[in-house]
């Protein structure tokens, strides 16, 4: 609760809205106590007094009634009616929505058909019909406005409830022996309330406008009593001659509704967990680059060389060092595996290469990425764009989410080409069919017009691969391309990648968490932990004799098929959070050979025998000397 208030207070506009609203509400509550003239006493002798005249601060209306007094009483009435309508609509709507959403099936079906029926009216028609039947009057206007808004709440809340009712914790509650009523009250409701509050805070303003509107039409409050809407309605005939009588109530409505809307937006932002994490920001076309310190030089003639790359996520005042200085390189035609657990920074490393880390919150804060000797970190956007897909192409994890759902597979393939060079329609299509054939999609001529949802997971990932091949890139970065696939499909995709690589001399950076996959596909492997590479070298050498304790422990705790029933080797503890990395080796707390020296200073990634490097002071194996070679 207090966190909610702090969040709300941080939003200056919402705070402003809250203050204005509080003042208005306070004045409305105090109106009977204020020394105001009676609002409904007519005095035709002093009609249409302008504002700031003697005895009438805001002037008088067409019957000589004091506008200030009428404004205060009218505000009181408008607020009361608007809020009551919102509360009634929210309560009933939410109740209907929760019941429909929780029980589902036929109950849901019948209720929602009814709701749809009510929503088939333009809302004011329904309100007008209700007022027509009940007769004009403020109470009836309130009923009409509330009734008309119930379906909106019901539908909104039902949607949320369905999502919650399908959550596993509801199943768990059922298994814990709780009754449906109990589950609705203690499991579902607490999770729905924030949504109800958001829906209410964003619609109260609207309800006030609607009741004011009905009064404006003469269907709400009846003379001599007036709310803000009927004040405007009465003033309309004198609009041209005495505009102040219209401006006064009109501005009041504007101020109230604006304050409520500002506050409502603030409430919504404070309650929406996605906004808290900054997850609702729009990622920019390329990752932000803010490099401090010297830019490392390229060494050697690698095709792709990542040097001391640092990528961080800046969320609020926290800094997550997702990639904390990674060095690795890729030679033409080579396949390098980058292996690590989730949060180790392997994907971020891969995405940093072409500036694809979502930004905000991602920032590249140091290092360089050399492609054929040229630093592409911080290169102008157009340079980066022209290289994406043409020089370095990506294959991503979940092919359903990574293909555009509304474009055909063919269009997406052709676009991959046409983003880099002009292609005619026929040529593009022929090329796309050819690509589909290369990834062994049967019946490519027909499949080209399919949408992604019409294909299976394996086929979709083949399309993903075809898209990556479209411009004959030198490098493919594959970010867990088989993780979302079933094991039999995974084997097919891996075989395909391996064949393509041999046929085309592709260099592949393969991100995975699976040692089995690395062993089958990669020439070299780099193991990442807490944002840094802890060990790197030829795949066989590392898998046969891991030098870093983390590598050996990690390999030991993954069961391998054919091992039979056994107790697994577990690594105690958890990986450190990358916003609070310890001094020294990040693995020291979980390491069985850690010494005091492991916990201080920076531990370098040192050569460990030929072609291998390890970031450890007490490697499992002593480095082979050159002599032993």
């Amino acid at each position: 609760m207090s966190a909610f208030l702090t969040l709300l207070a941080r939003n200056r506009l919402a705070l402003g809205g809250l203050i204005v609203l509080c003042i208005v509400v306070l004045l409305a509550l105090l109106t009977p106590l204020l020394p105001l003239k009676p609002p409904n006493v007519t005095d035709t002798a002093s009609r249409f007094q302008p504002p700031f005249s003697e005895g009438a601060l805001l002037g008088t209306d067409h019957l000589g009634r004091d506008l200030l007094s009428r404004l205060m009483w009218g505000t009181r009435l408008s607020l009361a009616v608007g809020f009551s309508a919102a509360v009634i609509a929210a309560t009933l709507g939410a109740a209907i929505g929760i019941v429909a959403g929780y029980y589902g099936g036929r109950t849901d079906n019948v209720i929602m058909r009814g709701v749809d029926m009510l929503m088939a009216f333009p809302y004011i028609l329904l309100a007008l019909a209700i007022v027509a039947a009940l007769g004009p009057g403020l109470m009836n206007a309130l009923i009409a406005v509330a009734a008309v808004n119930i379906p909106f709440f019901a539908r909104n809340i039902r949607g949320i409830t369905v999502g919650i009712a399908n959550k596993e914790f509801v199943d768990a509650a059922k298994l814990a022996g709780m009754s449906d009523a109990k589950i609705i009250v203690t499991e579902v409701l607490p999770n729905v309330i924030p949504v109800i509050v958001i829906a209410m805070s964003t619609t109260v303003g609207w309800m006030i406008l609607e009741t004011a509107g009905l009064s404006f039409l003469g269907l709400g409050s009846q003379p001599p009593v007036a709310d803000l809407g009927s004040m405007l309605g009465e003033a309309r005939s004198a609009l041209i001659t005495n505009p102040h009588t219209s401006v006064v109530p009109g501005l009041m409505i504007l101020v109230i509704v604006m304050a409520i809307n500002l506050l409502g937006d603030g409430v919504r932002d404070a309650l929406d967990p996605r906004l808290k994490s900054g997850a609702l920001s729009r990622p920019m076309p390329a990752t932000m680059v803010r490099r401090e310190g010297p830019i490392p030089q390229a060494q050697g003639d690698d095709l792709l060389a990542i040097r001391e790359l640092e990528t961080q996520f800046h969320v609020k005042d926290r800094v997550y060092r997702a990639v904390g200085g990674v060095d690795m390189s890729l030679r033409p035609g080579e396949c390098v595996g980058l292996i690590g657990e989730s949060g180790s920074g392997k994907s971020v490393t891969a995405l940093s290469v072409m500036g694809l880390v979502a930004s905000p919150p991602g920032v590249i804060t140091g290092g360089a990425v050399y492609y054929e000797g040229r630093d592409i970190v911080g290169a102008p956007y157009e340079t980066l764009r022209s290289m994406r897909g043409r020089r370095v192409a990506y294959i991503f994890q979940d092919p359903l989410a990574t293909l555009h759902p509304l474009y055909t597979v063919g269009d997406q393939l052709i676009e991959a080409v046409s983003s880099h060079r002009r292609v005619g329609r026929e040529e593009g299509r022929a090329h796309a069919i050819d690509l589909l054939k290369q990834v062994r999609i049967p019946n490519a001529e027909n499949r080209i017009d399919s949408y992604p949802h019409e294909m299976s997971g394996g086929m979709r990932q083949r399309v993903g691969i075809a898209m990556a091949l479209a411009n004959d890139p030198e490098i493919i970065i594959a970010d867990e391309p088989t993780t979302a696939l079933d094991v039999t499909v995974q084997a097919q995709i891996l075989t395909l990648l391996s064949d393509l690589r041999r046929e085309r001399g592709l260099a592949i950076l393969f991100i995975t968490h699976d040692f089995g996959v690395v062993a089958q596909l990669c020439d070299r492997v780099a193991v990442m932990y807490a944002g840094r590479i802890v060990e790197e070298g030829p795949t066989d050498a590392i898998l046969n004799a891991p030098a870093h304790p983390y590598t050996s422990k990690l390999m030991a705790c993954v069961p391998e098929l054919g091992g039979g029933r056994r107790r697994l080797e577990a690594i105690p503890g958890l990986p450190p959070a990358v916003d609070r990395l310890p001094d020294g080796c990040a693995f020291a707390d979980r390491c069985h050979v850690a010494t005091e020296a492991c916990r201080t200073g920076d531990i370098p990634l040192d050569p460990h025998g030929p072609a291998r490097r390890v970031r450890c002071i007490n490697p499992v194996l002593a480095p082979k000397t050159e002599a032993a070679q």
Binding site: M117, G218, L280
Partner: protein, 315 residues
């Protein structure tokens, strides 16, 4: 495709029946003898007897409903006693005027709302975003009738750019330019609120889409950013914007009631309000059913548009 349209049309039938039932039930809530209520000041004993005969008002509720429905299906919506003409004639005539007003406002709010939403999302937290957000906030907070009144004061009375009110001048030619001249202010006033809502929802739909993986895929294959925004992202966002447009059409139609009053526009909304104040029950009943039915049809068009855009909807 034709199959889908047919299916949607068929599914509209229960909705239309539902609408008629709801309107009928609401009207049945009117206290007292229905014939007297309908006739109001025209209620002589002979008139009451004649109306009871015509509409079967002395029969039970269910039977009355079917008589009413049957009459409507034959195009007989009853007769307005206050205006002394058939309800349907009056409604159709007025509805045309409303269509011109609401249709214009709907197009304005869709085009400007979506454009503003996309620009806002593409420049999140930038200057354009802040400016649009502020204008949108102002738009959704101002009562449309107050806005209309202020526009009359400013642009008609003080600046004399546009006529104060009405759809046509009392004397003179009825050309399209004259219509546009009269239409400009009411259509703008009506569109402002709806534009705000559309812009807001478009902005959040765009922000939602821009974080999706397929946008990253598009960028990873080197698609130009302009095309990423206005092609990939907007197209996907339209899937959630189009239904909002459908709902928004209802809001524009509703808002038209106020605007018609303020600008003396001879539309169906003004007719309904007048009819309610005159207690011209049959005119209210017929008007509501007719407009609601048109709105249902409009929403079928929206659904069809949606199915054209989104291949995942089974046709």
């Amino acid at each position: 495709m034709t199959g889908y349209i047919l299916k949607r049309l068929l599914s509209a039938i229960p909705v239309l029946i539902g609408i008629s039932v709801i309107v009928f039930l609401i009207m049945a809530m009117i206290p007292g003898d229905p014939a007297t209520a309908i006739l109001g000041s025209y209620a002589t004993p002979e008139n009451v007897a004649a109306l009871n005969e015509d509409l079967g008002l002395d029969k039970p509720l269910v039977q009355r409903y079917f008589i009413w429905l049957g009459n409507m299906l034959q195009g007989d919506f009853g007769r307005s006693f206050a205006l002394n003409r058939p309800v349907l004639d009056e409604v159709m005539e007025r509805f045309n005027a409303t269509l011109v007003l609401a249709g214009t406002a709907f197009v304005l709010c869709s085009v400007f709302g979506i454009a503003a939403g996309v620009i806002s999302a593409a420049n999140q937290y930038g200057l354009a975003d802040k400016a649009i957000t502020f204008v949108v906030l102002l738009g959704i907070s101002i009562p449309s009738f107050f806005l209309g009144m202020m526009m009359i004061l400013t642009f008609a009375v003080n600046l004399r750019w546009f006529p104060v009110s009405g759809m046509w001048p009392i004397f003179g030619d009825r050309t399209i330019w004259v219509l546009i001249d009269h239409l400009a202010m009411p259509a703008t006033a009506l569109a402002v609120v709806a534009t705000g809502v559309v812009a807001r929802l478009s902005r959040s739909a765009m922000l939602e889409v821009l974080r999706q993986d397929f946008i990253r895929t598009a960028r990873a294959k080197g698609v130009h950013e302009r095309r990423v925004i206005w092609g990939h992202a907007l197209r996907a966002a339209m899937v959630s914007i189009i239904p909002v447009l459908g709902i928004q059409a209802g809001f524009v139609l509703s808002g038209a009631v106020y605007i018609e009053i303020v600008f003396q526009w001879p539309g169906v909304g003004r007719m309904l309000v007048d009819a309610i104040l005159r207690r011209d029950i049959l005119l209210v009943q017929g008007g509501v059913v007719f407009v609601a039915a048109c709105y249902v049809m409009f929403n079928i068009i929206v659904d069809v548009a949606q199915s054209l855009l989104d291949p995942r909807i089974k046709t």
